[in-house]
């Protein structure tokens, strides 16, 4: 797996997939739907898939001395690696906002989602949308990318809309707190972790099944 992951980075990855990890900085943006970071991260990885198709990456990889299913798991591992790099940055920036910057005027007056534990939970759900809808859809054919990306985009915008709306419903203001961890935040975060882990795992198992049966 290490060798395949190294191959993904050295031969397959479009540099934008790595560069777009920096969209984590959006966590600091006031007055902006900061969950869009997850969408842009997916867009960056999408560039790698377009490049991979152009250079017959899948055929090359399948012909290496690996099992066919390893091709799928390595591609999931690459995406998870990118997502976790982005997530760690987002966690650090969220901690910054929740401590040093918790009383900053721009965040106290922020009408959009604030960075807190609930935000991180929703961010994991956006990552999960990519893994379920884009990767899961892509591995049905190993070449069609348009419809899977559209499905990911639609699912992501639904998740973002729900996330941004929750704190606007009467009594929901606590969800947008700039500091502290409230039980609801913890619940949303736990749901995010669950959706990400279970969604990614189930998508990968399904993708392996599809990939072993499709004609390349």
């Amino acid at each position: 797996m290490k060798k395949l992951l190294a191959k993904e980075i050295r031969l397959t990855a479009n540099p934008l997939s790595i560069v777009f990890i920096a969209f984590a900085l959006m966590t600091l943006f006031p007055g902006y739907p900061i969950l869009m970071d997850g969408f842009f991260l997916g867009l960056g990885i999408f560039f790698t898939y377009q490049q991979a198709r152009e250079c017959d990456d899948v055929i090359y990889t399948v012909l290496l001395p690996v099992r066919k299913k390893d091709v799928v798991t390595s591609k999931y591992a690459f995406v998870i690696m990118i997502q976790m790099a982005n997530f760690i940055l987002c966690v650090l920036l969220t901690l910054l906002r929740m401590t040093v910057l918790k009383d900053a005027g721009v965040y106290l007056a922020n009408v959009m989602m604030n960075a807190n534990l609930m935000y991180l939970g929703f961010l994991l759900m956006v990552y999960a949308c990519f893994n379920i809808f884009f990767l899961g859809g892509y591995f049905k054919t190993a070449y069609k990318q348009g419809v899977p990306f559209l499905a990911f985009s639609v699912a992501t915008f639904i998740v973002i809309t729900i996330g941004e709306t929750l704190s606007k419903v009467p009594g929901g203001q606590i969800l947008n707190a700039t500091s502290g961890v409230h039980p609801v935040h913890a619940v949303v975060f736990a749901v995010g972790v669950l959706v990400y882990v279970v969604g990614t795992w189930a998508s990968m198992i399904q993708s392996i099944k599809h990939f072993e049966n499709i004609d390349l």
Binding site: C55, K68, D215
Partner: protein
């Protein structure tokens, strides 16, 4: 001689809805160590489908592929350590330099031999600082062969390696195949260019409309069709025309 590759009753059907659009059926043949097997047939006869099914790039409905006596699906990673491939017209990572692709590829092979890699680069006059897209089709085939031979492949599976090559490069390729076979490498290569087979093939497997017409030693193949055609010493091109001849209805 022992069979390095044994294909048993391989079948694959392509459908559009319920209608069958193409089928390769009951494909069986063997390639032995040190043997150059020409896999021949017209365009669309099923050569690429068969080779892809052997390599598990497509999933056949029936049949079995044994390489080095092991079931390919059960020992895929192990078998691929000793097998090399080249597909004419394919260009992996065309914007990457040869040395970058080789650097990554070699990490996967237990038997990678850097000395052999340098030897074949020199022998094939490949500049490893060139990008794949800067190589001619002939040089690309040589690059794929270099990669395969650097990990001591004992079986080469080559899909139309001579397509797009000029006559001189095709002649060179035939010479390379003969030298490799002399070292014990088994080679299965598909082609529709009969002159490639004249130069280097020891055995012929002929496929027509998805079915094997014959699979035997080249001399036996020629004699078999000489009797059928009631002629003496037909060329492989004559035999191919005889097998494939159809009235042109215009």
């Amino acid at each position: 001689m022992s069979a390095v590759l044994e294909v048993k009753s391989l079948s694959k059907t392509y459908r559009q809805g319920q209608a069958v659009t193409f089928q390769v059926k009951d494909i069986s043949f063997k390639v032995e160590a040190g043997q150059v097997m020409g896999f021949i047939g017209r365009n669309g006869a099923g050569k690429t489908t068969t080779l892809k099914a052997i390599l598990n790039l497509i999933r056949p409905e029936a049949g079995q592929v044994l390489i080095f006596g092991k079931d390919f699906l059960e020992a895929e990673d192990e078998i691929k350590q000793e097998t090399g491939y080249a597909v004419g017209g394919m260009s992996y990572y065309k914007r990457k330099r040869i040395k970058d692709i080789a650097e990554v590829t070699k990490t996967f092979y237990d038997n990678w031999d850097d000395q052999a890699y340098r030897h074949y680069l020199k022998g094939f006059k490949l500049d490893e600082n060139k990008r794949l897209m800067d190589l001619s089709e002939g040089m690309k085939v040589k690059f794929y062969l270099t990669m395969a031979l650097s990990h001591q492949a004992k079986l080469l599976i080559l899909d139309e390696p001579s397509s797009g090559l000029d006559p001189v490069s095709r002649d060179e390729m035939a010479e390379i195949f003969k030298k490799l076979a002399a070292k014990g490498v088994a080679i299965l290569f598909s082609t529709h260019i009969t002159s490639d087979l004249d130069k280097c093939a020891d055995a012929i497997t002929y496929i027509k409309d998805g079915k094997i017409v014959a699979s035997m030693d080249k001399q036996d193949f020629i004699e078999h069709f000489a009797n059928e055609m009631a002629t003496t010493s037909p060329s492989l091109e004559d035999i191919m025309v005889y097998i494939e001849h159809e009235e042109v209805d215009i």
